[in-house]
């Protein structure tokens, strides 16, 4: 049908809609290009720089590594520098058990804190979603409120609460619940408390948005069909809030793995987390290439499972349709 129309009407009329189509395609492509450009300039290019540094050797110089790839010696100098790049730093990471331990500890600490944050955040989000619609904006505001104070100051404040002569111990001592102060500061417990506290809003907000959308008559329907309230929660509410649970867990887990401030301030000097190791390599040892290698591995460690997970989810959605 369309073939006949084109031959009959001639190329001039056929070309016009084609042009408009191209124009529309160009605009919609431009809209998509913006985030891609953002990613290119603020993620991909910095990543390439870090990756290149991770392939260099540490040096007492400015910048503190060689080779520096530039064109002062012309194209041949650039390629000569290129040949000096090696994976030595990555080999080094496997040879010193410190790094492996730091990665594993970080992942474990992040995983445990994520679960703890979920356990604390779910009831909060559930309560907010079931609250009268009139007070929900206020509750939401209260969740976001801590962001208005500096993150660093809030973590410092926890030192005042958790230290042996701090507020918590004073309270428990005065209530005669304990006889001697609890040692919380500079332990893993303090790190967990710090991470759960700091990242709670990132868990609560996605959970709230998925719970708030849920139709409460589903719970009534489950009860009506003979399901007691707790079973109804596990069979209906929880599965339906899974997208929120996953989003919240990723939002907490990813930054928690690389967390540096909280283990440094609350966990004391002996805690071994990859963020702190990275900081030490960079600022204390001034070994930019090794710290870059640590950062690249950390990135792969986080990105690969997330990408696999997202792919699985997309496939599940495809099957649903």
């Amino acid at each position: 049908m369309s073939n006949i129309a084109i031959t009959d009407a001639g190329p001039s009329t056929a070309a016009k809609p084609l042009l408009t189509r191209l124009g529309a395609g160009f605009v919609s492509r431009l809209v998509i290009i913006v985030p891609y450009l953002w990613l290119l300039f603020f993620f991909f290019i910095p990543f390439i720089i870090v990756f290149k540094i991770s392939l260099s050797q540490s040096a007492i110089a400015m910048p503190p590594y060689t080779p520096v790839l530039d064109f002062t010696d012309g194209i041949s100098g650039f390629f000569a520098g290129f040949r000096e790049l090696s994976f030595d730093n990555y080999v080094w990471l496997t040879q010193d058990a410190l790094y492996f331990k730091a990665y594993v500890t970080s992942v474990i600490i992040a995983a445990v804190s994520t679960i703890l944050t979920l356990l604390v955040g779910f009831p909060i989000a559930y309560g907010m979603a079931r609250a009268p619609a009139t007070i929900r904006p206020t509750l939401l505001m209260l969740v976001i409120l801590p962001f208005w104070t500096s993150f660093l100051i809030r973590v410092y404040a926890w030192i005042g609460i958790l230290k042996p002569e701090g507020l918590l111990n004073q309270l428990l001592l005065s209530l005669h619940i304990i006889n001697q102060p609890l040692i919380i500061l500079n332990t893993y417990t303090a790190i967990f408390i710090g991470i759960v506290y700091s990242y709670l809003p990132f868990m609560v907000l996605p959970l709230y948005s998925s719970l708030e959308k849920m139709d409460y008559s589903l719970i009534e329907a489950a009860k009506d069909l003979g399901c007691p309230p707790t079973a109804a929660f596990w069979k209906i509410t929880f599965p339906l809030s899974l997208p929120g649970v996953i989003a919240g867990c990723l939002l907490v887990f990813i930054p928690a793995v690389g967390e540096f401030v909280i283990p440094d301030l609350l966990g004391g000097s002996q805690t071994l987390m990859i963020g702190k190791t990275l900081w030490n390599e960079f600022f204390a040892n001034r070994d930019w290439p090794v710290s870059s290698a640590v950062a690249v591995i950390l990135l792969l460690l986080l990105i690969v499972p997330i990408m696999l997970f997202q792919q699985a989810q997309a496939r599940a959605q495809e099957q649903d349709k």
Binding site: L218, E220, K223, D224, A231
Partner: protein, 379 residues
């Protein structure tokens, strides 16, 4: 034998003084804060009855249903099911199931999982569940949609899944909250008859909440008209329509003309009424109102005849002018402005293709009706 309406009903336990009531609301009151949703209401429903709660939105009919399901507890009074007081029994232990207005299908489960949900809670063995689910799917004609998720179904299919899910457990009573509210007109009419067949075949007691009088009239054995948390009338569809107990019911169900007036003279079977504007009519079915007391005669439009000349044998004939005509295909609706100013709505069934005595706007016309064509209301 004469009867109200055109249907003879053989199933009428409400007329049998020895029939055992199945569901009883006894002086039930429900308050939400200051608001009284249900006010000292009593109601009896019999086994295998198709019972409709009809009323405008906010009249308390849904609250009645939710109290029966166990989602709300009465503030005062009690509800009995098969002789058992339901107070304190949570919804998941009541032998009733509800079909929700929103259908409330579990979006993360397939059609068959939705239907099997209640059976699994009961602890039914897996092979039996499978058999029952297959049976239910066949009943609602959705066999080939068993593996679909609710969002992949049309509105009508979803409604049938909700129905299958709520009857799968064979409840003593099925509660239906506006079951056809979300369907388009044609589908709604089909589904009404399907629901009636289903109720007959399964032998269940149905309590349906609706604001659609046609739906209630079509399906129900009896209708309770609810207004402001109180029962206005409980009767068969024919009684509600032909013998409404009050002006509210007469107005709420169908169209009606009201002659306001005073009792002029009472004979053995008939009452002569003088209208507020002086017109005189004679009616049967009168109450024992004394001469001079205020009275209303309510008559349905289809019981009024419209003619261009005064009918010779008519007891009641009033003259006026055609104010509006609407041809609807199956019938024609006339609005006649009587000479005293009152506007009468009359409708004529177009039983023949050709009309002998056609009328048009501003024609002189007579309206006439038999003395037993309407009811006298005092409330």
């Amino acid at each position: 034998m004469k009867s109200l309406g055109s249907i003879r009903r053989d199933f009428a336990p409400w007329n049998d003084p020895n029939a055992k009531p199945y569901i009883q609301f006894e002086n039930v009151t429900k308050k939400f804060g200051e608001f009284t949703a249900v006010n000292n209401l009593s109601l009896t429903i019999f086994e295998r009855e198709f019972f409709a709660l009809l009323g405008a939105s906010g009249c308390g009919k849904s609250t009645l249903l939710r109290m029966l399901a166990g989602f709300e507890e009465p503030t005062a009074g009690r509800i009995l099911l098969d002789g058992q007081d339901l107070r304190g029994i949570p919804p998941y232990r009541r032998p009733v199931n509800m079909m929700f207005q929103s259908y409330a299908l579990f979006p993360h489960m397939s059609v068959e999982k939705n239907i099997a949900f209640g059976l699994k809670q009961e602890g039914m063995p897996a092979p039996d569940i499978e058999k029952r689910v297959a049976e239910m799917l066949k009943l609602v004609k959705l066999e080939q949609f068993a593996k679909r998720k609710p969002h992949q179904l049309s509105g009508g299919q979803r409604q049938r899944v909700a129905l299958a899910r709520s009857v799968a457990k064979r409840p003593k009573v099925l509660l239906l909250d506006e079951p056809l509210g979300a369907l388009d007109k044609k589908l709604r009419e089909e589904t009404q008859f399907e629901l009636m067949d289903l109720q007959q075949n399964l032998g269940l007691t149905f309590v349906v909440v609706t604001h659609d009088q046609e739906e209630a009239m079509t399906m129900a054995d009896r209708i309770a008209i609810i207004d402001k948390g109180e029962v206005m009338q409980v009767a068969t569809p024919a009684e509600v329509y032909e013998a409404p107990s009050s002006r509210f019911v007469a107005h709420f169900v169908g169209n009606v003309n009201m002659f306001e007036g005073k009792v002029a003279e009472r004979a053995a079977n008939t009452t002569r009424i003088t209208g507020t504007t002086g017109a005189q009519i004679v009616v049967e079915n009168s109450t024992d109102s004394k001469a001079g007391s205020d009275i209303v005669f309510a008559i349905r439009p289809e019981k009024i005849k419209v003619t261009s000349k005064k009918p010779a044998d008519a007891v009641n004939a009033l003259e006026g002018e055609v104010y509006d005509v609407a041809y609807l295909g199956d019938m024609t609706v006339y609005h006649i402005r009587l000479d005293d100013g009152q506007i009468i709505r009359a409708s004529a069934l177009n039983a023949a293709r050709v009309t002998e005595d056609p009328l048009t706007w501003n024609d002189r016309a007579w309206v006439s009706f038999r003395p037993d064509a309407g009811v006298v209301l005092t409330r």
